[in-house]
């Protein structure tokens, strides 16, 4: 069958029944009650939650072959939790687990691929599997089922429908007390918001908090409450603080990226929605960070204040807040050390649940009110579909992240990307992997021009506003022609029939699949 973005999909992939993406998502009133595996349980007061080591905690949870385990990825590439837990599980001889972190970042030592090869893990679900694992998967790494990739907003939904049922959640925290109250905001290895873990804490059957910083009861602040925590383990190191959150990223000096960032900020400032109380999400790529600075300049010049910034926070958004240019920061993730530590300092910088950020099946989510969303992309095609996963050789370059959620939620979604990267065109005829449907993309900003999507809900409004501001636009076909005139037309990537990854949209339907890459 063919879904609404023209992707060919089988009816079933193993036991996975494909619900094809059917077009812009509708809110649905569900029949079903939210699923949680959490059990009401009374523990003896004298009984301690503090376990001597990971092995004891895993055994106390009753982890068995075939169960599902989860983690957050807020420690990014500095994470030492996943490696320690999987190594301990392997030592215990438990096999065939479903590995369901919020995302797999590129952790090399130990290698996740090795845990797949030795049978510890045989299924994977995450928002992304960037790095060694992802590359191995698209090359055909043997798993019991294809990897399921979901945007950030879809993961809590999958958990609440029971599609992703978690047996044991391992939650790394930079400070915790012996009853399991914990946070990522303080301590030597602070990572900031634990936004991804709230859903795991409330829905998993067993919850283990892992920290290297055991503090006297009660831990302050309390991000995740003791109510949800079964066991606490103190380890030597939860991560490498230099890699968890480097200091504020320096602004790019690349003139091309600065030009794109400036133009994206100009588009926002030209919009009639850019007025006192506007809201935005910019993100953490080089262009995004520069764009935040340009947006701050526009905001200051206009003498207005944004009501909130959303999603992943960076040092320069915190800077905007300090200057009074944005009233509130809703942090589902903290991208650097400044943003990680800012939450405790200001009552208007708050940690939010990732589900509150992006899950469309909540009674509402914060994206529903968002005016401007700035997105990165690897490729965009003439239908404005976005690929954020696979690179020019089919390799796994990134995770889906919250991009599809932001594009759909924001009034004006802005894709920023250079028209070519080396010899690889970024504007193409048809993206290799579709992650975000073009219908949700309002405008694409490149160094070679700005193109509006005539099929987007905000098209007429944005067209009029840009004209009024004297901002010229081109068509997406013009951008394609410019890109191909520089690079030539790329040969399509050849694949086998084997489906390695299922790419879900924020509503839980299948927007695309990634087939195994054919190598000579």
């Amino acid at each position: 069958m063919i879904n609404a973005v023209g992707r060919e999909l089988p009816e079933k992939i193993g036991s996975y029944v494909v619900k094809p993406y059917a077009g812009p998502s509708q809110k649905i009133e569900a029949e079903q009650t939210v699923c949680s595996r959490r059990k009401p349980s009374k523990r003896a007061v004298a009984e301690t939650k503090l376990m001597p080591d990971l092995k004891a905690a895993i055994q106390a949870c009753g982890l068995r072959d075939g169960m599902t385990i989860s983690f957050h990825h807020s420690f990014r590439e500095g994470d030492h939790i996943v490696g320690q837990v999987l190594s301990t599980i392997k030592e215990l001889g438990i096999r065939g687990l479903r590995f369901a972190p919020s995302a797999v970042v590129n952790i090399k030592n130990p290698s996740i691929v090795d845990f797949v090869k030795d049978g510890t893990i045989d299924r994977i679900q995450a928002s992304g599997i960037r790095g060694e694992l992802g590359d191995a998967v698209v090359e055909g790494l043997e798993l019991a089922e294809p990897v399921i990739l979901r945007p950030h907003g879809a993961r809590p939904h999958a958990i609440e429908t029971g599609e992703l049922s978690i047996d044991v959640a391992f939650i790394g925290a930079s400070a915790a007390d012996d009853f399991g109250n914990c946070t990522g905001q303080v301590g030597p290895n602070a990572c900031g918001s634990l936004g991804y873990s709230f859903i795991d804490a409330t829905c998993a059957e067993k919850v283990v908090v892992i920290t290297d910083n055991l503090v006297p009861y009660p831990c302050v602040p309390i991000s995740i409450s003791q109510m949800y925590v079964d066991y606490v383990v103190k380890v030597d190191q939860i991560g490498d603080s230099a890699k968890i959150g480097a200091g504020a990223a320096r602004r790019t000096k690349n003139p091309r990226d600065l030009l794109i960032a400036q133009r994206a900020a100009d588009v926002m400032a030209a919009s009639r929605l850019f007025k006192d109380g506007y809201s935005f999400q910019t993100g953490a790529g080089a262009i995004s960070i520069a764009c935040t600075d340009f947006l701050a300049e526009h905001t200051e010049k206009a003498g207005i204040q944004a009501s909130y910034a959303l999603g992943g926070m960076t040092a320069n958004i915190v800077e905007m807040h300090k200057k009074g240019l944005v009233r509130t920061l809703l942090c589902s993730q903290s991208f650097d050390a400044v943003a990680a530590r800012a939450i405790v300092d200001s009552p208007n910088i708050i940690e939010i649940d990732n589900s509150m950020y992006a899950n469309m099946f909540n009674k509402s989510c914060a994206l529903d009110k968002l005016n401007f969303g700035v997105l990165g992309a690897l490729e965009i095609d003439v239908d404005f579909n976005i690929n954020i996963l696979t690179g020019s050789n089919g390799e796994m370059m990134s995770g889906i992240g919250g991009g599809p959620d932001v594009a759909d939620g924001a009034d004006i979604s802005i894709v920023t990307l250079p028209i070519v990267r080396g010899r690889i065109p970024s504007v193409v005829n048809k993206v290799f992997t579709c992650c975000t449907p073009g219908s949700s993309v309002a405008v694409v900003v490149t160094e070679a021009g700005i193109a509006l999507n005539p099929k987007h809900k905000s098209y007429e409004m944005l067209k009029e506003d840009l004209q009024k501001a004297g901002i010229k636009t081109v068509s997406i076909e013009d951008l394609l022609e410019t890109a191909y005139s520089l690079t030539g037309v790329p040969k399509p990537i050849e694949t086998t029939d084997k489906i390695t990854c299922i790419v879900e949209y924020r509503d839980g339907t299948v927007i695309d699949v990634i087939r195994q890459i054919k190598r000579d």
Partner: protein, 91 residues
């Protein structure tokens, strides 16, 4: 040997291959999508210099076609001890 291993450049080595025809060894970060196009450009420049037997060792870092062409012309000039005919380009 010309060029560098910088991103968006190509490094090309040219050596004699008496009676062996053209032997083009290409490593490229964009081989899957542009490998054939790169070999075609290299072959075309060799032919324009009348070079029929040569070993080419090219390490491509995503160079655009004009860069590959210019690097090839330079390496052919070095190898044959000739000056580049600039006028030819303007025709």
């Amino acid at each position: 040997m010309v060029g560098t291993l910088e991103s968006s450049d190509i490094q090309i080595g040219l050596s004699p291959n008496p009676g062996g025809g053209l032997d083009i060894q290409l490593q490229s970060v964009v081989k899957a999508q542009f490998g054939d196009a790169i070999v075609a450009t290299i072959t075309e420049v060799l032919e324009s210099f009348g070079i029929k037997d040569a070993t080419v060792n090219a390490v491509d870092r995503g160079a655009l076609e004009w860069i590959i062409r210019a690097r090839m012309q330079a390496v052919c000039c070095y190898a044959t001890g000739t000056q580049f005919e600039w006028k030819g380009e303007d025709k």
